[in-house]
Symmetry: C2
Subunit: 477 residues, 2 copies
């Protein structure tokens, strides 16, 4: 069992302070729930009261009270000098996966699934469904409905009209593509998952950027892959995952020469490369198309698998994504797709096919909306916070002048703000000094979020850094 540090523990408890009642009761409830949900199985030993108090930026007495209550209720046991642990006889079914320990999903789950909560979401990367499209773009016609209601087919590859529309879009962008090169997926997340399942076995190495989109990390971990961050030699890797255009979360664009070298090198080694272009259409400035070209532009051997989605440009709720790849790979991926969900919802596919007619209009609408929000956020952040202004994408990648973003996120939660610490974007839990801040909310929410962020920072920042990594206590258990 790997030891789990207090600050990692605090990630599992992310939203514990989000309820009502005294802090120690909320903390006890959070730990109780995490045990119940199996999030703490492997971390059967708890951090010391002092270490957890520091990681959560609360008083030691609060943790002492919470531990006492849980001991009384029979959830925890303690032994003087040996610490505190979760009672072993609580276990039930054997579940091999350690789900949700270090991942961002506990944080995200709260934000992605709650309605009418007061907390402001500065964590997720989902824009509002695009406004300003003609009404018919978002409704399925009676004729389309009736046509679909006459078919027994699942279309595991995707509805022919949608595959054709996706291929035509690539052609118009200078990348010759046939409908047979396209597999429609239930969002880009499924695209990543299918490719991970095709190429990776437990213990295989996948190369990712650092920082990196955490949904991809989750997918790779769920098939048991080991993650290495680039730069790293290609020879022992089985798969490479990249977001070269408007990188998630940094917003950077990989230079054309580097793209070309990378594709050449990968092709020499028959190494599949995922080019995740989920954010590539979110241009916030007028950009030369040559700068945002897909990796497939340089691919002569079929080593690149390109992922796209309508989620960010149009509407994530449609759950429409796709893979563009060599036909023989599409033929294999579709067999996995059949085991995963047999096919993507037909009405959504028919609607998506129609939305392609509005693609350029959507790019313009999104640019106008998001560049204004980006500028507002950039203007209003605490002036000592550093970031590079991104030309595209959905986020500012902000470096704190001091402190640990995980601790700041804890403080922010008590101010009614959900923050995503940089370490959640890192396969190696680095970037603890950074935060990914989306500019997606409408102006009043965005302003209120900035106000709460400022208040949390005022509370957190005046002291000296309260967390400096190699503390003896954190390492001792």
């Amino acid at each position: 069992m790997d030891p789990v540090s207090a600050i990692e523990w605090s990630q599992v408890l992310m939203s514990w302070s989000d309820g009502k009642g005294p802090l120690h009761q909320r903390l006890a409830a959070g730990i109780r729930q995490a045990i119940r949900h199996g999030l703490l199985i492997r971390a059967s030993r708890l951090p010391s009261e002092r270490a957890l108090a520091e990681a959560l930026s609360i008083s030691r007495n609060t943790v002492v009270s919470a531990y006492n209550a849980l001991r009384d209720e029979g959830w925890l046991e303690s032994q003087t000098g040996n610490g505190t642990w979760i009672r072993k006889d609580l276990g039930a079914m054997r579940i091999p996966q350690w789900v949700g320990q270090r991942d961002a999903s506990s944080t995200l789950l709260g934000v992605l699934d709650r309605e009418g909560e007061d907390a402001i979401d500065f964590a997720t990367g989902t824009p509002y469904p695009l406004r300003g499209l003609p009404a018919e773009a978002l409704r399925l016609s009676d004729a389309d409905s009736e046509r679909l209601l006459r078919t027994r087919l699942y279309y595991p590859f995707g509805l022919p009209e949608l595959r054709a529309a996706i291929a035509a879009r690539y052609c118009s962008e200078g990348l010759p593509t046939s409908a047979d090169d396209i597999l429609v997926t239930t969002g880009a997340q499924q695209a990543i998952m299918l490719i991970a399942s095709l190429f990776l076995q437990r213990g295989d190495t996948v190369l990712v950027e650092d920082p990196c989109y955490f949904g991809a990390v989750e997918a790779f971990r769920s098939v048991g892959a080991r993650l290495q961050t680039l730069p790293h030699p290609f020879h022992d890797a089985r798969l490479v995952y990249l977001t070269p255009v408007f990188q998630n979360p940094t917003g950077t664009v990989m230079p054309a020469r580097q793209k070309e070298e990378l594709v050449t090198l990968a092709a020499e080694r028959n190494l599949p490369v995922i080019d995740d272009r989920t954010l590539a259409d979110i241009e916030l400035e007028a950009i030369d198309p040559s700068a945002t070209r897909p990796l497939a532009f340089w691919d002569k051997t079929g080593t690149v698998l390109t992922i796209g989605s309508l989620g960010k440009l149009m509407w994530a709720g449609l759950r429409i994504g796709w893979i563009r790849a060599a036909r023989h790979l599409i033929e294999r991926l579709v067999r996995l797709k059949m085991a995963y969900d047999l096919g993507t919802a037909l009405p959504m596919q028919a609607q998506a096919a129609k939305l392609f007619a509005f693609y350029d209009q959507a790019k313009t609408l999104r640019r106008e909306e998001l560049s204004a929000k980006r500028d507002l956020l950039a203007r209003e952040l605490p002036p000592e916070w550093k970031f590079n202004m991104p030309q595209g994408g959905l986020f500012l990648w902000v470096k704190l002048p001091r402190g640990d973003a995980r601790e700041l996120a804890q403080v922010a939660m008590r101010h009614g703000l959900v923050l995503m610490p940089g370490s959640n974007m890192s396969a190696e839990q680095k970037h603890t000094d950074s935060v990914r801040i989306p500019f997606l909310l409408d102006e009043p929410e965005l302003r209120e979020g900035i106000r709460r962020l400022d208040a949390a920072w005022q509370e957190y920042a005046p002291g000296t850094p309260r967390y400096s990594p190699p503390r003896p206590e954190a390492l001792s258990w």
Copy 2:
């Protein structure tokens, strides 16, 4: 490498004869495509010309011509006395999964994705979208659309109104259920996949019925599980998968006493049991509700995970399924769901929630439709074919008086009929004497299918059995 018999090979080539041109050219094209699509990697050695000819029910000369052509083109190599194999230097990317070798997906893929083909589908288990519902049941209202278009949420657990509707349905059937016990999935297939991923690691054993729904077998195989067929001791298993009500494919119903014993035994061992009720609402007769009770009715410890779907009752194209399980399992499954597709399409969920108001009406409409089709099929099958009349579900499970259903399927394909041999429903490739025949097509198609089936049987059956399992040649390589 496991040896692969000629008849297994023939499964990969299932639809080879479906094209135009002389038979030997079609066979060569089929083998070429299977190599290209990576379906034959592990089976690098080909069956002898005679063995393949028998398995495909064609002449040996046809196979000789096909092999010769492929040798000339550089796909195959031969050595006298050593047989014929796929050239090793054709390989490109290393793909660890052996996708589609023994599975039904190659057959199904053709049927699930093709429009306007002449072949009649006697293979897949998808009914037509239900007719006779009020028009408003199948359209999303403007108010619903607008509400969804204002949200950034993904609802990984499912749209609250849909979770509530599913829970209320269980309550009305006598199974107390809260919305928190429900996870909405992208069809029942994803439900199986998520549960497989949660409980199974490579090499773990899952217990299934024999015969069994092949989509479940595919999901379990895709996570590297080993399959054992029931009856089998529970102690070394990690998961049990059952379709107790209107079993797929046999249509049988497990007696209440057996259900109760099974749940008790599983609970004693903390062994999770999947109760897949995808077909349970397809009642073709008036049936006492106590006979079709879910396993969860007897579950006091949370050992049962119940799977449901609107796919068969209403419309598979919606891709709406769900899992009912103990809350702590739902909390873990949702984290996997986030890695798999983040959430199910929102408009489909809103529409599904409304469809629950028509649930009982839908059951009646389906019963009227499908019992008539069942009776037609049962009346028109060759009289020497044996089956038990099912009280529910979508299939007749038919035993051939002689011969091998895989060979019959090959002959049927050349008569323009896609058949699903029983071995595709068997984790152990048994039931080679059986065929699963769905009664889902409308009367003219159904009658034409029966006509082609009869013609294929007339061609195939007059001789003595051409395939008797333990042939020296099939075992020698």
